[in-house]
Point group: C2
């Protein structure tokens, strides 16, 4: 009985229970990693079943009344130290949120997700949004139901936003995406008036093995600990963690697209450095988990863009790159290389977008999700709405649904409220990097010298070690002295593209 | 309540419960595979914890009273078909055996196994059996206790033998190992009088990548389904299965020892073909599990030795091998190659022994284990006993404990009764292969032509599909018309070595 135990004993019981759940989830992550990297073709069926079983077990363990009893007994107990108190608070929140979902809803969601995913696959094959629309309607009806289950203040979409980024809401995101529209649009217009930048040489033949070696080299340079991780090949690059001591990245290599591997490798490396920097003594506990998706994305984007697409970064790496691919790059100056890898060009596909137009892609999805949740956008017209937004903000004509509304997997999975974290990640990254440049002596010179240790140390001190102890908002204020603002990203973008496009 | 359900409903419940346990065990197997192949160095600590958690969950699920209730309700129910009845019978046996172990014994065993393993490591470093002896004493005391827990007829060792090979006992093994002594000893004497065979060319430099390709080629030729499996590198080769649709092998490559990869690859391939041939519709149920360790080993050894070390096999493969390694093998005739790969030479280390002297290594371990269990051999003198046996049966002088009593990991793990299954595997293999030669038209000619399909089909019809439906003894009688006898192995050995050593 919890009542008869000391606080320390109860907290020890709590840790055992929660870490056991983490063990199961991390085992699931291993099965997932294997599925994307090494699983033989025919193994998929039974693997799916094994994953379902472990997921069910993790869910059962997490909803067990024994855990509830311990959490109730420890809630608000001030004998616990602040980190322990925070763990209990967050686990209680997680537990109570989990309990809100009626079994019937969970079963419906599972069924509709499956249906909707297969409809999306089918619609893509047919290149016809109408094939997806009926399943998407059901999904959206369920997501609306979910907003009621979870509860919200203000806009119903807030309930879903909060799932991916605690504290995010339409008030905050409307402000930010309005700035995207009003401040980035003129920038884009200025850039479009500039003669086009040549990046054809990035699409010559880049040998697979040399690319692989380059990727490993960059990861090691960044400070990714290869004794606590490894890189493998998968169709879609991702980072996965089984503990801070085993954080794995994957990449893909396109021999006709130099950028594909390079920046995805740096991007995943940024995610992985964060996971490797989480406190091992908080393994499996909330304070050992990433703050939020937005903060996670800030780490990948900071490395990918603020560092990895900077002139400073390539001042160090470009001479070596020319040696690795002499035929392709011997005649290309650093300046032309730098311009090419930062070429801004409005396009149809989000995942191929440059650093600037990317946020229009996200803003469009944000507006659509918000409209779907409050009913101002109809599911059946979604492809038209989509195409109109792309014409308006990105000045491109969507030729068909595969290059339009059917391009992302997210909605078919029921991930509504996820997209905004991608933009939040970039904006946090700019704000963090600006703070780092102020706080770390000689940061830029160290990057020019290929030394990322001072930057990593700053991240390891200011961002990585806290897990969910702070919310993203609290962390941002603590590190930068202010809440998330769009200004730092705008300054960064103006400076960077002003330099490249002469304005 | 089981009472209110139909037989079909109860059986469906049984399947769900048992297959859920299988899912957890197979997830554990994935974690184990990853640990031996790709786990980064620092990941070992948390991985160990994750493995412990999943093991505990599998144990809890298997000892849950709900499963017991269903088993009790279905036991002896003749509405079930014979395979279903067998599954219930075997699951009940497994369940009841599991229940026999008192929690205190399980805890003691876990502690002593850990202690004993570390003592063994330490003893090997010190090259001193006396460092291992105290922990081994404790282990043996526990194993004796285990024989009482499990119960036995006749010799206490029978309880442990039965764990690894159902139905095996000292009466049967005394008979078999007596024949090893009386029939193989004269053969060995005859061979020792022959001028030594040269196998130096097997230890020239064999390129790693070419060896790897050869291994893959051999596995595919054998009929190993690469879409339902894969090969990776590990320190110690092994086969592991997550379902019949995902059966993986590992190998190691020594560039100065051609045989190391080659026959371990064929050996693991034999294990893997068996696992790929188990019935998928019996996934996770006893009739979907390998018959026994002895039968498993029969499949690896049949391919490794009866096929893979035969002249017929290399008549097909040797010309290609000479092309792969022209500098090493151009001047070596097929006949000399065949003699070299079958060279008989008494030696100190079991894992490096040839096909013939191997069984003396096992026989010695069998005698020792039996003696330890009935007290006729004392733990403190074990190294002396060991060395004396090696002098007597293999005519070799053991120079130190690392090359003697400390060479195998098994006892430090508490695996007593395991070793005999290695010899049983070879003897089953000879008996099965003899039967196949009689039953499959043109079997030898097909092997000469590099076509293993008829052999695999025979195995897939006669051995693989039954799982634990038959015991090894029943299976052997069904396939060969008689119980396991030593005679087929002896005939095989006489014919093979008579050919090589001219007697």
């Amino acid at each position: 009985m919890p009542g008869s135990k000391s606080t320390a004993e109860l907290y020890a019981d709590y840790k055992i229970k929660v870490q056991k759940i983490a063990d199961v989830r991390n085992a699931l992550a291993v099965l997932g990693w294997d599925q994307e990297t090494y699983l033989p073709e025919k193994g998929a069926g039974f693997r799916g079943q094994q994953i379902t079983t472990l997921s069910t077990i993790a869910h059962e363990l997490f909803t067990a009344p024994e855990l509830d009893n311990i959490l109730q007994a420890l809630k608000g107990n001030t004998d616990l130290d602040p980190v322990q108190q925070k763990n209990i608070l967050l686990s209680t929140e997680d537990y109570e949120k989990n309990k809100k979902y009626p079994a019937a809803f969970v079963a419906d969601m599972s069924r509709v997700t499956n249906e909707s995913y297969h409809a999306w696959i089918k619609a893509r094959k047919a290149n016809d949004y109408n094939v997806f629309a009926p399943a998407l309607s059901k999904m959206i009806a369920l997501k609306k139901q979910e907003t009621d289950i979870l509860g919200y203040e203000g806009h119903p979409y807030n309930a879903l936003l909060n799932e991916y980024e605690k504290g995010a809401n339409t008030a905050m995101l409307d402000t930010i995406f309005n700035e995207v529209k009003t401040a980035l649009s003129p920038l884009l217009t200025q850039i479009e008036q500039h003669p086009p930048v040549n990046k054809d040489f990035l699409h010559l033949h880049y040998n697979r093995d040399v690319q692989w070696q380059l990727g490993i080299h960059l990861l090691k340079d960044m400070g990714y600990d290869m004794q606590a991780g490894r890189q493998d090949i998968s169709e879609h690059p991702f980072t996965t963690s089984f503990s801070p001591q085993d954080v794995r990245v994957t990449t893909r290599i396109d021999e006709n697209d130099f950028g594909n591997m390079t920046w995805s490798c740096i991007h995943e490396g940024g995610h992985a450095l964060y996971e490797q920097g989480l406190p091992t003594e908080q393994y499996g506990l909330p304070c050992g988990e990433a703050t939020s998706l937005g903060i996670h994305e800030s780490q990948s984007r900071l490395w990918e863009n603020n560092v990895g697409r900077s002139l400073h970064f390539w001042q160090h790496h470009y001479p070596r790159l020319q040696q690795l691919f002499p035929e392709n790059l011997r005649a290309v100056s650093l300046s032309d290389f730098y311009k090419a890898i930062n070429k801004v060009q409005p396009s149809l596909i989000r995942t191929e977008a440059d650093e600037l137009t990317y946020h229009f892609h996200i803003m469009i999805r944000y507006e659509i999700e918000k409209g779907l949740m409050d009913g101002s956008i109809a599911v059946k017209d979604l492809h038209h709405t989509w195409n109109e937004y792309y014409r308006q903000y990105l000045h491109v004509t969507v030729p068909d649904d595969v290059h339009g509304v059917l391009q992302d997997i997210h909605w078919s999975h029921g991930s509504f409220g996820y997209f905004p974290t991608y933009s939040l990640g970039s904006f946090y990254a700019a704000q963090f990097f600006t703070a780092a440049q102020k706080q770390v002596p000689e940061l830029d010179n160290n990057i020019i010298a290929g030394n990322y240790q001072p930057l990593l140390e700053w991240l390891r001190t200011n961002i990585h070690p806290f897990g969910r102890y702070y919310t993203s908002n609290e962390l941002c204020k603590k590190v930068t002295g202010k809440e998330l603002v769009f200004g730092d990203f705008l300054d960064y973008a103006k400076k960077k593209y002003g330099g490249i496009y002469n304005f």
